[in-house]
Subunit: 558 residues, 2 copies
Amino acid sequence: MSFPTDLEIAQSADIQHIKEIAAKINIDNDDLEYYGKHKAKIPLKYIDEAKIRNSKLILVSAINPTPAGEGKTTVSVGLCDGLNKIGKKAIAVLREPSLGPVFGIKGGAAGGGYAQVIPMVDINLHFTGDFAAIEKANNLLSALIDNNLQNKEHSLNIDPRTIVWKRVMDMNDRSLRKIVVGLGGLSDGIVREEGFNITPASEVMAILCLSKDFEDLKTRLGNIFIGYTFDKKPVFARDLKAQGAMAILLKDAIKPNLVQTLESNPAILHGGPFANIAQGTNTIIATKTGLSLADFVVTEAGFGADLGAEKFLHIKCHYAGLKPDAFVIVATVRALRYHGGAKKGEYEKPNLQAVEKGFENLDKHIENALKLGLKPIIAINHFATDAQDEIDFIQKKCDELGVKAILADEFTKGGEGMRELAAAVAESAESGENNFQPLYDVNDTIETKIGIIAREIYGADGVNFSQKAKSQLKTINNLGFDKLPICMAKTQKSLSDDEKKIGRPIGFKITVREFEFAAGAGFIIPILGDMMRMPGLPSVPASEGMDIDKDGNITGLS
Amino acid sequence: MSFPTDLEIAQSADIQHIKEIAAKINIDNDDLEYYGKHKAKIPLKYIDEAKIRNSKLILVSAINPTPAGEGKTTVSVGLCDGLNKIGKKAIAVLREPSLGPVFGIKGGAAGGGYAQVIPMVDINLHFTGDFAAIEKANNLLSALIDNNLQNKEHSLNIDPRTIVWKRVMDMNDRSLRKIVVGLGGLSDGIVREEGFNITPASEVMAILCLSKDFEDLKTRLGNIFIGYTFDKKPVFARDLKAQGAMAILLKDAIKPNLVQTLESNPAILHGGPFANIAQGTNTIIATKTGLSLADFVVTEAGFGADLGAEKFLHIKCHYAGLKPDAFVIVATVRALRYHGGAKKGEYEKPNLQAVEKGFENLDKHIENALKLGLKPIIAINHFATDAQDEIDFIQKKCDELGVKAILADEFTKGGEGMRELAAAVAESAESGENNFQPLYDVNDTIETKIGIIAREIYGADGVNFSQKAKSQLKTINNLGFDKLPICMAKTQKSLSDDEKKIGRPIGFKITVREFEFAAGAGFIIPILGDMMRMPGLPSVPASEGMDIDKDGNITGLS
């Protein structure tokens, strides 16, 4: 008998009514806003700053992943279950999945095996509508911009050639990357170049993730930079009086979503993914809500720590005033084989030599963590294809580096397979041994900040800027946005900006092709290599295998 | 003290928990899927064909409206409250509002004054996410089409010049009407002309409205016509294996939404509006659910009866196997002044002469109803600015035509102001005096069917077809879609296709500019005059006056 699929496990789960889950963390049933029986929104009033200071924040990140992913969400969910198993009051606070990849290759993002958040289908589809609301708020601003170009009587005199604000859609849809809008004639708008990003890359998503409350949300929305007038004055969303209506569209999206793990432990999902093209961490509101309701919060930041953890620390912690109390790096034997040179089709076969070589990728992430003031614990996410000598090697090497490496068996065993890791993480969190220190000062120049990330985190020799990027740097400086943190857009597959450079690349420089900037959210986005902020579908999209029967039973979702 | 705004009335309402409303119509609390405390989805199993045959369906439509609208939704809600007031078990089954106009001029569509469905803000914003789901299903198909053009190894050989399927967005956004996608280069798709319609105009919306169950939904989605291959074979959504994934995206949207009126009577909102550019009636599933749960269902079809009622009867009734048991035409003194030649700024001033002249518009709608086998009851939606002699005139003229005209005072008095109308409507519904007979046979040619609607309903002398329309007619015939009902896209402001022709225009022909067709939903869309299926925003969008405070209180929404 083969191991059941994630969907089969999720569908056969003994799911509890969400009010039962809420009761475990002392949320009053009357305060819940149900979305069906298994999802609910939590009001903002549960944030309790005094309690937050006494709770422990556990950050889970990973080494550079193979295209299949190394199970960071799975480990995070399993770690939450493991902590509860050993008697700790823990909650997983994770990001919501994007719908785009669900129909592509990657599938959803609700964990896997016996470490999942459920209801899995709902979570991977529209969930509680947060992404739809963010998309609408983003695109309302776009409509208001184009409408202002069209209507001469109420005009801000915006130069359409300078508009940097893009529309978004939560879909893998490469044909929308570069488009021309406003064709048709006098009544159909002004012709201009435009493009769609995927919704998680929207600045509105980042603003939601970084806002503390409605006031902060509105202020940040109003501060979105749009472009220039013909007489070269900057134009912001507030000039279009857009922030009130945009905030109204986000009135429910701002509230964190409560679900459960397969083991009926509470999980909060809120905010958007993709630390390769966005800031990619869950919302400050969700993290603070979790810290207010439990003693331990397990949160994740991916893909690899070079993107996810770096941004979590330098952007999210910066704005939230939080620091992680423990840091977990997920590694897999499979990914180390890959970094050691194993070829496609061979990742699943034992190969000690490749693991020995590939360890350098993990080594670099450990080194980075220590630089940041964090003592990582390595979670070896266990696969059936792992050989004992490979695992032994990883543990021995980590031991030499003074770092624990512990097998994580959540996929097949759930929380029961995470007792050892949970105990080590809880001990680390309570020890006070972690004390994050930023590698850069936000008041440094943009070039300096990018240079520090490139050299210290990626291991690069330096940074090249394209002509376009150089010109945009001047713009950013002129607008006074140079004192903002940096949100790199980089491939997750390599420590460098070239996805083919596996392991621990050396002797390279990264190239900033262009900038986007998020003046409202509060960061600058250098775009490296050929990164796209709107993905495409594969030649055979996953959607082709999906079905729903006459009773509403779903198959083919992963 | 001025009369409170709709929002003020809605916000101060004594709103009940939705489980209390559900209990009134014997829905088991365990069967409800809550969306917060005041909205819930009803499972499909409540449809009971035996009960449906014994319940009465009341259709509310209107004369051709002024730009402000004549209060069709308000009368429908008030009539439901009125029926309950006189001891009838009645439910309002209405359409969901589109988000686009909320930020434009028209505002939301949840009724007004003391005849509203609540929670008004939620209903007018994302509600339960149905529109977002429909938008996503529509745009998934678009992404799959463009992806198929891009990927040569799995290609259907689609000729991009022949693609008729458009993307949608629930936004008033004229700049998206005509666009070019796929610019950028090799990795960014194939360049082609494209356009966005507003989401209620999506064929997916129409399919949802006309489907009986999941099987029917999937079949219709699979039958969506996309375009041709380079060797001129038709391509359908099923060729892209899209229908399963699209149906999964609609798994919750297919379920009707339960809310309440201000008087705590049940109301079901489900399906999309805009009978000018779409079929614009609520879903068959919602109507049948309503008929299964109550003795009287009040439903609406607008804008005017020339669009809404005609489509309700020839499309929805055709597919649902339903017929209305009573028919209400909403008229206002204001609109009759308008049709009688009163100029802008004068609609609110008593003007008997204009009303006498403008009555010809109502007269034509009464004549049309009788042709269709329906004996209408006229609801004079009462405004403070109505003069008694104007009302007397309307009632006298209707009396001469053998038709009742009754004052509807729902705006200021709620159900209490609707007792007389409710009694007359209930009597009509129970009398068996209404027996709808279609004016055309679906097996007629498209030209014949359009001709019948134009002559019999609009009062036109005939129909012109543009060169483009003529060419498209051949395509439609070749594809075998000519046996489908007709869904006219026409201005709501006139019985003709020229919005300036008020009253009861004569001596005109309508012009079919082009066709769209909905092979999956099952109708052909002749587009008349300069109708656009994507609206624009006004020069000062309503969004500018909207705000939300630190506690989440909303202002400026109408």
